[in-house]
């Protein structure tokens, strides 16, 4: 493969140090590093380095997303085709879904990476790999019927205002993918709620493109059982419906230590606790409604809750950074997610707002955890000076 290497080195020549196009080096380097891990060696400090780098970490997350993505494609095709024909073949469904979803992914990566490249050149740093994940997450949490220009606009907003305005990768406060969704949700609510979850459903009579949460909030009958909800054969955002596929992704994230198991576990515990509290209302003499009485374990597997906790809450940049903080952060996301879902049916899914809210509070949680450490140290100084005084 050395001819390929030589070819690349030749192409890269005008972008080298002191050459004509030096400014644009980050863009070329980003492409090069997608083929080869660079030949850079350590110069000082530790002479050897771990095999891991940011690209490896991010690609692992992308791998964890693949099961949910493929299922999402199949489900999008299935939900659409099953309204117009009795039998739907597997490949037929995937093909139909892919045709609708691939353009969304292409637009998301195109616009997002374009902005990232421009900023890298402008700021003179290498392109960070964070957008590899964000760029795939954004299509996965949109309705299949979303117009492409809306995707482009949401992505641009998320990357520019959500990330680059704060200083780029590693500095953002909000999860960029959720920022994109929140933008689309508040800017174009009619495209993000109601009967948008199944392609062309409004043109077919007697078929509802609504999500389960919509129906529950409106007090309508839900025709799906727990198994449907768990496997994901229900309308919803592109890839959030299948709890099984999300579970597979969660396992990949936890086993590879890329995602924090603490956030994932405490997130589900928080959600379960809140749902159990609402489930207990009738026994306390309060009647409640369809949402509060919805069995707690079903709460965990419908809507974007599982997807949000596994793939969004675990974003290390916008999450709490301390171990103790991660437990608190995850727990509160689960708790608030269910609370918003039940108390405010105007928002069909609370997890998006819960995560964004906790993103904002994560630095505060960390601050108090770290202050605990600082105070311990100060107390130690006090104690030792008292001992010295006594000795004197």
């Amino acid at each position: 493969m050395s001819w390929l290497r030589n070819k690349i080195d030749e192409v890269k020549k005008p972008f080298g140090k002191g050459e004509k196009f030096e400014k644009y080096a980050p863009a070329v380097n980003a492409l090069d590093t997608f083929l080869y891990v660079p030949d850079h060696t350590t110069k000082k400090g530790s002479h050897i380095r771990d095999a891991v780098d940011l690209k490896r970490t991010m690609i692992t997350v992308v791998l964890a997303l693949v099961p949910a993505l493929i299922f999402g494609m199949w489900n999008a095709g299935y939900q659409y085709l099953s309204q117009i024909q009795a039998e739907v073949g597997f490949w037929e469904a995937i093909g139909s879904g892919a045709l609708r979803i691939m353009p969304i992914i292409v637009v998301s990566y195109g616009v997002g990476l374009g902005i990232e490249f421009i900023f890298a050149i402008f700021r003179g740093h290498e392109v960070n790999e964070g957008y590899l994940v964000t760029g795939l997450l954004i299509p996965m949490i949109m309705p299949v019927t979303i117009p492409l220009w809306m995707v482009a606009l949401s992505v641009a907003f998320a990357v520019l205002i959500g990330k680059e305005a704060f200083g780029g990768t590693g500095m953002n406060i909000l999860n960029p993918a959720l920022t994109a969704r929140a933008f689309a949700f508040f800017a174009y609510p009619t495209y993000m709620s109601g009967e948008v979850w199944v392609a062309e459903s409004s043109s077919v009579d007697a078929v509802s493109g609504e999500t389960i949460l919509n129906k529950l909030a409106a007090g309508k009958e839900v025709a799906y059982n727990s198994m449907d909800m768990f496997s994901g054969l229900i309308p919803g955002s592109i890839s959030e419906t299948s709890a099984i596929c999300i579970l597979v992704g969660a396992l990949i994230l936890i086993l590879s230590k890329v995602g924090s198991w603490r956030i994932i576990l405490s997130g589900f515990i928080g959600a379960a606790v809140m749902a159990l509290i609402f489930n207990a209302l009738p026994s306390m003499g309060i009647e409640g409604n369809d949402l509060t009485n919805f069995v707690w374990y079903n709460h965990l597997i419908i809507g974007g809750l599982a997807f949000g906790i596994v793939f969004m809450a675990t974003d290390p940049v916008s999450a709490s950074q301390t171990t103790k903080g991660k437990w608190i952060y995850g727990f509160l996301i689960g708790l608030l997610g269910i609370m918003i879902r039940i108390f405010n049916p105007a928002y069909p899914e609370g997890i998006m707002l819960a995560i964004l809210l906790m993103n904002v509070f994560a630095p505060t949680i960390d601050h108090y955890v770290i202050q605990g450490n600082v105070k311990r140290r100060k107390k130690r100084i006090q104690e030792s000076s008292e001992v010295q005084k006594q000795a004197a």
């Binding site: 030949d39 380095r49 490896r56 770290i370």
Partner: protein, 450 residues
């Protein structure tokens, strides 16, 4: 009395190329060199003005600009061959052409057990043995004007391919005891020694010390971790640390009256040929140990271990404090699709994005490739896994980067030195130069707080 120090967090890097427990005596080297940059923050005031000056072993070479009591002496007798200077006339090396046999400057024998504390201390520093003592905080050469709260010695080395202190000191235990007697006079506190748990250690017989029995993965053997687990350094404290072989050197100085800085050096690493222990003196040329010229395009010569050492050229000298020389292959090669997770599992990784974690016993050949490029800090939690201290590593690093003194103090800058962050530097995904950042943070503290 002994205290248990059990470390859970950390990482043992299993590398190929351990040294055989075999001592080899070398013919005497023709040149030796003392390198002032080995002593961080010391600005040398040279006492040898002219090249060609004849000196005895133990004669002063230079002292610190800021304290004339911090003195550095010649390891051998002979002629000053060359004073090598770098940019801005900074002194890099003082090379000495050694005599066949040494003649010594006489400091007089002394029984440190019976002698006055002040006499013991001044003889240690006058003879140049003071350079063996390192001060914390800041990781600088100890100053005799300070009185340390305690003195710590770690007789456990858990660094990858490190030399075994038990083997190095097995014939020097009497001198070691004498050195301990001397060190006890330097502090009103205790002299602690970290000893490997579960073995019949030669250090168990040493009297007058507090023994810490240490177990667990690297950095359990780092003296910083042992200090942190016994009496953590507070603001305003001073603690001294010293390597075990140098304790024996101090002991020998008191019984002979001569400065004979012996250094047993292990040659290790997958690219090293004769992987033995070699007995020589401090400042020996690396070529003398390796015997043949190394192709430095393919192999890196490191004075010290792979995590904290410094790169050497063929004609350079081993650093003052190092007791091993590591040879590993250079990693200046591209790797096709090397960023794909679960590929290239032959490179050890603490992260589970490589399958190497499934084979915890396997030994690896490692090279100097960065395995990626520097990126923004994204991944959290990985640094904490390898730092067994009650310290938030990422937050402390950020405080050092921004030079925020108050934050650095609050987060425990006084308790760490660069070597404590070596594993943090090794594991972190963003390829951050953690040791350099801590060093710069400490330097800010030296100038601003002192």
């Amino acid at each position: 009395m002994s205290r248990d120090i059990k470390i859970k967090k950390g990482l043992d890097l299993r590398l190929k190329g351990e040294a055989e427990l075999k001592m080899e005596n070398l013919p005497r080297s023709g040149t030796f060199a003392i390198k002032p940059p080995d002593f961080h923050s010391v600005v040398p005031k040279l006492l040898i003005k002219k090249e060609g000056t004849e000196i005895k072993a133990g004669d002063d070479l230079f002292y610190s600009k800021y304290s004339d009591k911090v003195r550095f002496t010649s390891p051998v007798s002979g002629k000053v061959k060359e004073v090598v200077r770098g940019a801005k006339r900074k002194v890099l090396e003082i090379v000495i052409e050694a005599d066949e046999t040494d003649t010594y400057r006489d400091f007089g024998t002394l029984d440190p057990k019976k002698a006055e504390a002040d006499d013991v201390k001044s003889q240690i520093f006058e003879s140049g043995c003071g350079a063996f003592l390192k001060q914390r905080p800041y990781d600088i050469v100890a100053n005799p004007e300070n009185t340390p709260k305690n003195i710590f010695i770690s007789a456990v080395d858990t660094a990858p391919l490190a030399a075994d202190p038990e083997f190095i000191l097995k014939d020097k235990i009497e001198a070691f005891q004498k050195g301990i007697d001397a060190l006890k006079k330097c502090t009103p506190g205790k002299v602690y020694i970290g000893v490997k748990k579960g073995i019949d250690s030669i250090f168990n017989k040493i009297e007058g010390v507090e023994t810490l029995t240490v177990s667990g993965p690297h950095p359990a053997g780092n003296v910083g971790v042992q200090i942190h687990k016994t009496e953590p350094i507070n603001q305003g404290d001073t603690v001294w640390t010293i390597e075990p072989e140098d304790v024996a050197n101090i002991g020998a100085m008191f019984s002979t009256g001569h400065y004979i800085p012996e250094r047993t050096i292990a040659v290790v690493g997958s690219d090293a040929k004769n992987r033995h222990y070699y007995k020589t003196l401090i400042g020996a040329p690396v070529a003398h140990l390796l015997k043949e010229k190394t192709n430095t395009d393919k192999t890196r010569i490191i004075s010290g271990d792979v995590l904290t050492g410094t790169q050497l050229a063929n004609d350079e000298f081993i650093s003052f404090y190092d007791n091993c020389v590591t040879l590993i292959p250079e990693g200046n090669k591209h790797r096709l699709f090397g960023w794909l997770p679960f590929t290239y599992n032959g490179i050890p990784s603490n992260s589970h994005t490589s399958l190497s974690w499934l084979l915890p016993k396997k030994k690896y050949e490692v090279n100097t490739n960065m395995n990626g490029e520097e990126r923004a800090l994204v991944v959290t939690g990985e640094m904490e896994e390898v730092l067994p201290m009650d310290i938030f590593p990422m937050q402390l690093l950020k405080a050092c980067m921004t030079g925020n003194i108050e934050k650095m103090e609050g987060l425990g800058i006084y308790e760490v030195i660069p070597e404590d962050f070596a594993l943090v530097e090794y594991v972190n995904t963003s390829k951050l130069e953690a040791q350099e950042i801590i060093r710069l943070g400490l330097d800010v503290m030296i100038t601003e707080v002192g």
